[in-house]
Symmetry: none
Subunit: 195 residues, 4 copies
């Protein structure tokens, strides 16, 4: 007697999730190139073959991961946009970003690693670019916020803001134990969400 449609869907979804989680974990631990399908299969506790049942290959696992990442970024931006004042919006972005890096420095590290992939890497260049574009989108949204904040030179300020914020994120992910996140957060808020 075959399983019902629903049951199969459930099993499939569980298996996919399981594999995706394992892949994410392994990618973050070892990096994309060093992670083998075998590693992922072992971590997920499934056979190599099953991974190919659900994903076209290693690259698709990365694609899924990047897609999720971009959605997360966009989600933060959209939530920010619902807040009342530009000042609060920027604070939300800052806190979201720094909190995230602080909680998962390796994840930020992974994506920064991906973004800095040599452009010649035919496989990864696409994902690198997708992340850069997401950052560019984020930048545009920030420009609006600074404009609403009364900034006359909002593009320059947004750039400077992004530099500072990403610099801080980079530092946090590099020295996760030593970096005084809260103090830096205050400084950034004070500098850019000034009022």
């Amino acid at each position: 007697m075959p399983r019902t449609q629903e049951e199969n869907d459930r099993i499939r979804q569980a298996a996919k999730d399981n594999i995706r989680s394992a892949a994410i974990a392994i990618f973050i631990e070892k990096g994309y190139h060093d992670a083998s399908i075998d590693d992922i299969a072992k971590r997920a506790g499934v056979s190599k073959g099953l991974i190919y049942n659900y994903y076209k290959g290693k690259e698709e696992l990365l694609a899924e991961m990047v897609r999720t990442r971009i959605e997360d970024i966009n989600h933060v931006m959209q939530t920010a946009a619902t807040l009342d004042t530009p000042s609060e919006q920027l604070v939300h972005i800052i806190e979201g970003a720094l909190h995230n890096v602080q909680q998962h420095p390796n994840v930020y590290r992974f994506y920064l690693h991906l973004q800095t992939q040599p452009e010649e890497d035919k496989v990864l260049a696409r994902y690198s670019q997708m992340l850069n574009e997401a950052m560019a989108d984020q930048f545009e949204v920030q420009c609006d916020m600074f404009a609403k904040l009364g900034d006359k030179d909002e593009r320059m300020t947004s750039l400077y803001f992004s530099s500072t914020l990403h610099g801080a994120m980079q530092m946090i992910s590099t020295y996760p134990d030593r970096f005084p996140v809260d103090d830096i957060k205050k400084k950034i808020i004070q500098q850019f969400c000034g009022g």
Copy 2:
């Protein structure tokens, strides 16, 4: 007619340099993993075997590269230290850093990529760490500068400064054509080398 000792040394050194240059170029173009020894040999115009004559393997070529990089960083810091005022010193660091990234965005990209290597990568983690330590050294030197500048909270300022500077460098290397380097440079100088 055997070569003289000196002549041999000269030949050896020239060959080593040649190989190192080729390796650097290829690593930066393709990244460490994607660069093959064959690529490097071809670029250097020598045989694969010769590379192993001078270097223990691929990894040692990277080690050499990282060593040079760290020396370059230290060199900038030392030169800065010879300047008269802390303000001039910081300006020198800023200009050196930004100019460098602007001239060779891919080089900065390469090292940032290396620094963000997953820690589990047994081969590369060491180099990642070495670069981080160099950055930490740089940080300490900067602290002195900010202290001399009269800053009471020089460690925090130095951190914030490093964040901002590295953030800017990251942005330049990501968007080399669109980023207004000079404007940002001015802003950084104004903010940190202030008065």
Copy 3:
């Protein structure tokens, strides 16, 4: 409410036939090796599992196919044998053969491909051999026909006839659009069914 025995048999037979048809179609389109069980299951509109319910594996599907082929060949020969004169009998064979190839060049092609399978192919060699034996049987029957036609050297004539006929079939299947089937048919009939 359990099904009756008959009903079950009917269902089983229908399912088997369905699968066999799908397998034949896929085998002919893609060849044995390139055809996947998945392809066959999709074409038949059943699950992979069901195929294994009715057939031991991929090979048995081929076996079934070859069995049918041989039956078809024998059927043509038997029908020929019911005709009155040896001349008519041979004409029937020729027309049957050429018509068949002309209608389904890919089918002939498939079996010729199978017959020319390397002998070492442990899986397929058996089927190759079965087809060759069927051809040998056909040859014997033809010998009788040529004998009845008054040929003193009937084995040689039958061989020459088979060569010519199979050569023509090979040409038709290779150049299905360009080959003047009817003209060649006439020539063969004229040459061999002459008297």
Copy 4:
């Protein structure tokens, strides 16, 4: 001290030849799909890696083989063309073809197998087609011969001739021990090289 250029060339050529021979032998024994690179490496007594040093992959080994085959076919045709009378020319073609199959039935078998590859096989279809084209070229040359022989309907005769000849070849390769090659050869010569 490195080897001289010549010495290397010699070594390379020997290795290539060795690999090619092994590949041909294995392909003929097991067929293209069933032959693994491992098989070929073992037969050649070299490592798998070396094969990829000399050939882009499995397909290139086949390509080389097919190229040689076509050259051989063309060579027979060209040699035939140098003979004085069309009758002698045709006899030369017949003898060349039948002798060849008789000596190496498995080789003929291999190429017929290749020619009958399903068209959907994306890898092999090209080679199949190349062989068919070589056969078509051969056909055109034969037409001229029959024309010179005074045949009014030379294209039809050439087709019929080709059918008969290829049919015989197919039979020889199928029943190499039982087929009376010389007798059939005489019959073909008698039928087509008139005089």
